[in-house]
Amino acid sequence: MTNSFADFAKAKLFIIIGSNMTEAHPVAATFVKDAVLAGAQLIVIDPRRSGIADFAHLHVPIKVGSDVAFLNGVMNVLISEGLYDKKYVESCTTGFDKLKAKVMEYPPEKAAEISGVSADLIRETARRLASIKPAMLIYTLGITEHICGVKNVLSCANIQMLLGNVGFECGGVNPLRGQNNVQGACDMGALPNVFPGYQRVDNPEARAKFQAAWKCEELPGKPGLMMPQMIDGLPEGKVKALYIFGENLANTEPDIRHVEHCLSSAEFLVCQDIFPTETTRFAHVILPAAAWSENDGTFTSSERRVNRVRTASDPPGKAKPNWWIFREIARRLGHHWESNSAKEIWDNEVSRLAPSLAGIRYSRLRNNGLQWPVPNDKHAGTPTLHGDGCFTCGLGVFSPVDWIPPAETPDESYPLLLSTGRRLYHYHTRTQTGRSKGINDLLGEETADISPEDASALGIKDGEMVKVESRRGEVVVKANVTNRVPAGMVWMAFHFREGCANWLTNPVYDPITLTAEYKACAIRIAKTG
């Protein structure tokens, strides 16, 4: 997030796109709802009438995967009607002419045809967006989980820069991260192309720095494989040994049948986890790990806030902290790492090696933690990035993009579109929430959420069992007939093994990030029996 959650309570205008906040980030959503009650305007762009859309002044139900076309259409209106922030664009950005040329190819009528909402609604969206400054843009996986995920993100950045909304309190581009420490895992360099603090592995200076700090041999400069490449690399023989730490890939990745085939072809698979999962079935060695609240450390939230996690109890049996396990493996291969606690790892390594975290020490992480960048010990943290439109990289760069359709769209054989996501009561594959007493009582099985129109055309009644089929697989689940889902669409989650949407989802990826297109694939649905 360029901005902070604290802004949510006082923002005057929100654009929420592809974010089912009330279910996936419930507490963040409460602040948006509070702001709306206090008079803020809310525009929700989502194919479904999500919970937060109930509070919207304008709900724009665009077709799944039409985000770029829609946002280009909105920017077309902003430019054509002279509603954008000319001063900001002139002084803080570059590439406006190219952006203008591109969005001029998307007049509202054309954008309307692609996105399935009227040209008038596109115009109204643009006018409302330009009416209050700054506006806060919030997005989640509805933007990123497409083959055009990067283009979608760039479009969000383009429109916020065009409106002059980046670099100010209550503005910015704000992706809500789905997992407690996905931000932190990135910051720590659990990525194939960067060391901790986003220092690139193909930069010889960075390599020299880490080589010296880690007292190791020359570090590799070629970026590594991304997760889907690792999985596909198993049957190809490219990857022989895989180490999976705390991920249940057999349920979370698209096309479960394919993923399980890949996992079963690993020559050596290590799983390090707190529970047996569908993935650990394929392991050769399973290492038992300490869970949250069983060891000290830090998490970094969506708003770049580094905060403490503290020990309440001992891990069960012989389970050990994860950092200890990695250290022990290193030791067995001749690397004796000095740091022997989470605090030592952070204070003596992370904060010394990552310039944006240099001012963060455990002794400073009391109460509310610190939001990076924190370049030195005196720095109080950074609630808003790119302050006053002064972009960290100089000028904000407009990146004009073209719309492309999802990889698989409904056709005669598979006439409906399946989109997927998370539900309020459960978290991911339920390894935690499924074992927290009572939560299964509230939500005990997966459903196929379907519109009353489609249900009635297919003779499906609410609560009846239906078979949902895609080109990858099929599941049998209960139908949940709801007017929150538009005609032509079915919506499911991935919390339950039985009826997991990922038996159906399409393993196609954004070419840059290799994020899978969980949000769109073609299916058919029919009553069972």
Binding site: N180, A185, M230, F299, P316, K318, N322, A342
Partner: protein, 351 residues
């Protein structure tokens, strides 16, 4: 320059728009409250915050009366205390406030006020007919006999988390806190965020999972960060003998300011599941057998070394965990880069 008023005979400052309660608080005078919930519309329902205002016909509710310049406010007079004591006595008579078996014992504002005013025996006839206790849902026990109708749960549900499941039902002596047209919690629009429990000043709403685990004074509070979504809510773990008895949100902490959702508030007891992995396991003939750490780690190290020796460092790969600690991910990428010699390290960053 802030305006001033008289607080217990001394000049005190206030900001225009502040209530007596807020202005007194800023000037170091704490006025007791029951119904007041920070950040929500004052209701003035409980009358425990009454203060004397010179020239006013009656005592005034500090939570809902704005300060004006020159106002003469007294918070500590006999009249004020008599009135507050009367309110406490009436509240005590309205319910079944048997602290010995109450989950809130030791963390109850009504109990604190009764103690402060030295109330030893009931002055009024005790009510003896109550709505039955509701505990059919997995998370929240609602005991109407302990409810003082302060309305904080209604405020929390409608004005803080805006889930709009709780309201005040019926009228007069029949008044009752209701969910979904007087149905049970699990039959209403409730999403079990538990904000009502956090707001309840007495023992009317308590955490079901905590029942019988500890008295409030036996636990210690450990501050931590929620392990679920990426908001990073701050929470207290209430711990007795190494077991979490319940969690509550940290008030006035960023980013959540006293709020949690169902997962954060009630999703912690997976820790105590009998299914936890407790020992290293090695697959042998298609089955897993228990192993020592030394055996398992030696095997992992040897297998990775052997694979790298035979096929090069890029033949091994690792997926880190987006739920675990920063320090864990740091160690794992260090292991892959510095020890294995590959950048094949990733996690589910993009999904």
């Amino acid at each position: 320059m802030a305006d001033s008023f008289l607080l217990n005979g001394k000049n005190a400052s206030f900001e225009p728009g502040q209530t007596i309660l807020e202005a007194a608080g800023n000037n170091g005078i704490t006025i007791p409250t029951l119904c007041h919930l920070k950040g929500t519309t004052p209701t003035g329902a409980c009358r425990i915050c009454l203060v004397e205002v010179a020239g006013a016909r009656t005592l005034m509710a500090a939570c809902s009366t704005p300060v004006s310049t020159g106002m003469d406010v007294r918070t500590d007079t006999d009249r004020v205390h008599q009135s507050r004591k009367l309110v406490v006595e009436l509240l005590l008579s309205s319910g079944r406030h048997d602290c010995m078996v109450c989950e809130a014992n030791g963390d109850c504002r009504l109990q604190d006020l009764a103690y402060f005013y030295g109330i030893k025996e009931p002055r009024f006839k005790q009510a003896d007919e109550f709505y039955p206790v509701e505990d059919r849902n997995p998370f929240i026990v609602r005991d109407f006999s302990r409810c003082i109708l302060c309305g904080r749960c209604v405020q929390a549900c409608n004005e803080v988390v805006v889930n709009r499941a709780i309201s005040l039902g019926y009228r007069g002596a029949e008044t009752k806190i209701v969910t979904g047209g007087d149905k049970a919690y699990d039959e209403s629009d409730c999403v079990f965020c538990g904000q009502c429990v956090q707001a309840c000043p007495v023992g009317a709403l308590t955490e079901k999972k905590a029942v019988g685990l500890a008295r409030t004074w036996e636990t210690r509070k450990i501050r931590t960060t929620c392990p679920y979504c990426g908001v990073g809510c701050q929470m207290w773990l209430h711990v007795k003998d190494g077991r979490i008895t319940k969690t509550t949100a940290v008030e006035d902490a960023e980013p959540n300011r006293g709020r949690l959702c169902i997962k954060g508030r009630f999703g912690y007891d997976f820790l105590y599941s009998g299914e936890r992995l407790k020992t290293p396991l090695i697959r042998e003939n298609g089955n897993f057998r228990e192993a020592s750490w030394d055996e398992a780690l030696d095997l992992v190290a040897a297998k990775f070394k052997d694979t790298i020796d035979r096929f090069g460092p890029d033949s091994v790969a690792g997926v880190s965990c987006a739920r675990s600690l920063n320090e864990d991910s740091y160690q794992m990428q260090k292991l892959f880069r510095a020890v294995f010699g590959t950048n094949n390290i990733d996690h589910c960053a993009r999904t």
